[in-house]
Symmetry: C2
Subunit: 358 residues, 2 copies
């Protein structure tokens, strides 16, 4: 049945009414008699009428659509959050029957041009930006375009727009504190390129954590790499090849931490016993690492939902600066953190009790 789906005109004709009346009946205008309202709705249901949204939105003057800007892909399966985030966003939007558009910068056009086109073409009422740079031109662009947006994360100067973020600096202070309490004094840092604000924040936290614990900061202990497992492996390799390698390593993401575990294993170093490793993200997969990865877990379950609600509020007219929400990450101790060992035995290792369990 290739029904060219019924439109208002057809429905009105069917009812012997005018489109104007039918439209108002469907939209529950009180000036339409209850009787006809019912009759119209029944007929609409029966004929399977659905208002054409393009037409409706053109008429009411809002696209009723919000866009999520995909972070650039870095390696395979590098975006474990995206699905969950979209689910949360969609949940918020579903409540109003709004649509969720997903966009990635068209390679041939560029990030900014893509965004500008998107908003100028009237397709979206708001935008979610993720993984911002320290100084992210997308933020300024959106501001100059006067289009509502919310950032998942923050930029360096984050006082004049809406964002939802996890306190990475605090998290790394916590991680370093934890390691210091375990006796570690040489703690390495594996970071991501510092144009990303999250990378800078976490580095700041690391540095603050060191000084808070009276530990010297050794530039050699700071390694920056791409935030993939391979990046982590490479960085950890450099760290462990130092004359005085660290006894503990904090990593800016769980993926990098997994890569770090690789580097340690290939050197016959047992993570959590010989060298401690703490990641960041709280990826579910970390449970299955070898050994299970200790990590600073961010409360990601509700990020999408919250971002959606914030964005809708701003679209409704709320001041963006009302929405600057900082969550805390918390230490999830699995098995890659442990007390510092005095003997630097990097020889043949045995499986410890601990490692076997969980």
């Amino acid at each position: 049945m290739g029904n060219k789906s019924v439109n208002l005109k057809a429905l009105a004709a069917h009812l012997g009414l005018t489109v104007s009346t039918v439209s108002r009946a469907l939209n529950d205008y009180p000036d339409i008699s209850l009787a006809t309202r019912k009759r119209v709705k029944a007929a609409a249901d029966q004929l399977g009428y659905r208002p054409n949204q393009n037409a409706r939105r053109l008429s009411i003057g809002t696209p009723e659509t919000v866009c999520y800007l995909m972070p650039r892909q870095i390696g395979p399966n590098a975006q474990p959050f995206v699905a969950q985030l979209l689910a949360g966003l969609g949940e918020a939007l579903n409540e109003r029957n709004w649509d969720l558009l997903v966009s990635q910068a068209d390679a041939s056009v560029g990030d900014l041009a893509s965004i500008e086109r998107l908003v100028k073409s009237g397709r979206i009422a708001g935008l979610v930006i993720s993984r911002p740079l320290k100084n992210d031109p997308r933020v300024k662009l959106m501001q100059s375009l006067g289009c509502p947006f919310v950032v998942h994360g923050r930029t360096e100067k984050s006082d004049d727009y809406a964002w939802y973020d996890v306190d990475g600096e605090d998290a790394f202070v916590t991680a370093v504190n934890h390691l210091a309490r375990l006796g570690h004094r040489r703690i390495g840092f594996i970071g991501a390129p510092l144009q990303y604000q999250f990378a800078q924040e976490r580095l700041d936290g690391y540095v603050r954590g060191l000084s808070h614990n009276g530990l010297d900061q050794d530039p050699a202990l700071i390694q920056i790499a791409e935030f993939t497992d391979e990046g982590g492996t490479a960085a950890a390799g450099l760290l462990m090849d130092l004359d005085e390698p660290p006894t503990a390593i904090v990593c800016v993401t769980d993926m990098m931490a997994l890569g770090t575990l690789e580097a340690l294993h290939s050197r016959q170093i047992m993570p959590g016993r010989d060298v401690s490793v703490i990641g960041y993200d709280g990826l579910h997969f970390g449970k299955h690492a070898h050994p299970p990865l200790t990590t600073m877990a961010q409360p990601q379950a509700h990020a999408g939902r919250r971002l959606g609600d914030i964005l809708l509020s701003i679209i409704d007219g709320a001041a963006p600066t009302k929405f600057q929400e900082l969550q805390r990450a918390n230490l999830v101790q699995r098995s890659t953190d442990g007390p510092v060992t005095t003997s630097t035995s990097t020889g043949q290792t045995h499986v410890s009790e601990r490692e076997e369990s969980r």
Copy 2:
């Protein structure tokens, strides 16, 4: 600058032309003089004019939008593919300047009603359905609606629509063959609920693999559970608690396989030495499992791109049945497969050479 973005009328006025002429100039109608075409485009660029897409699409009669139906969320980070898939889809759509909508069934409305509303409201020109059931009502619905769609996966009877899938049956024959060659004769199967077609296919492959290798089929060796790591752990527990436990286990997903590794570890059984485990998916994370997970890897990198291209072709008028593409998964040997061991020593285990490397 809160420019109420310029529209055609404004642009036309600015140029001293009529909207009709300006529109045709922008769309490169040959009957407009090259000179004015240039002049119009220059002005459009300068004023930052972008045609309102809602209006344009209403006029040209197509939403120029395609929708990806999110699979229902199963546990945290359970959808590692989604991001990559969306990226591929977006790439295909970007080439035509089409939009990608993401939709999840509105809980309060239901899957089918959500879809029906979506297509009847003229918002989408095509749909991507993923993870279909054996007998998936969404397929029939889309057919009766006469709306182009492509399925990522297949249903039981898959001859009359377009799909892109990986041959799960073949993959499990391969996995069983591999294990049989290693000497295993009691091979367990950890599957997902059989209303999912992928679950049935992989079970079929397992059964075929057994008979192909002259192995008896023991119902006790088949365990069905939710396809999460916890599901895998539970199922593997049941398997290993059998009087005659299997010496090898194939799992319908990598997540279940990771859960299986947990179950083995908690019983002091070393995967790959005492009991072999083969997963399915080829998740990147499997490399970091303990030990690294052997798996049937599906070539997922281009799925999204391919699905997008197929869907666009169908929208362009191609016959859906022209697009029924079956890919092969291939065995990625990491460290959880190994020859069957005679001694069923489930006591204290040592780290084998193998397990330490990679």
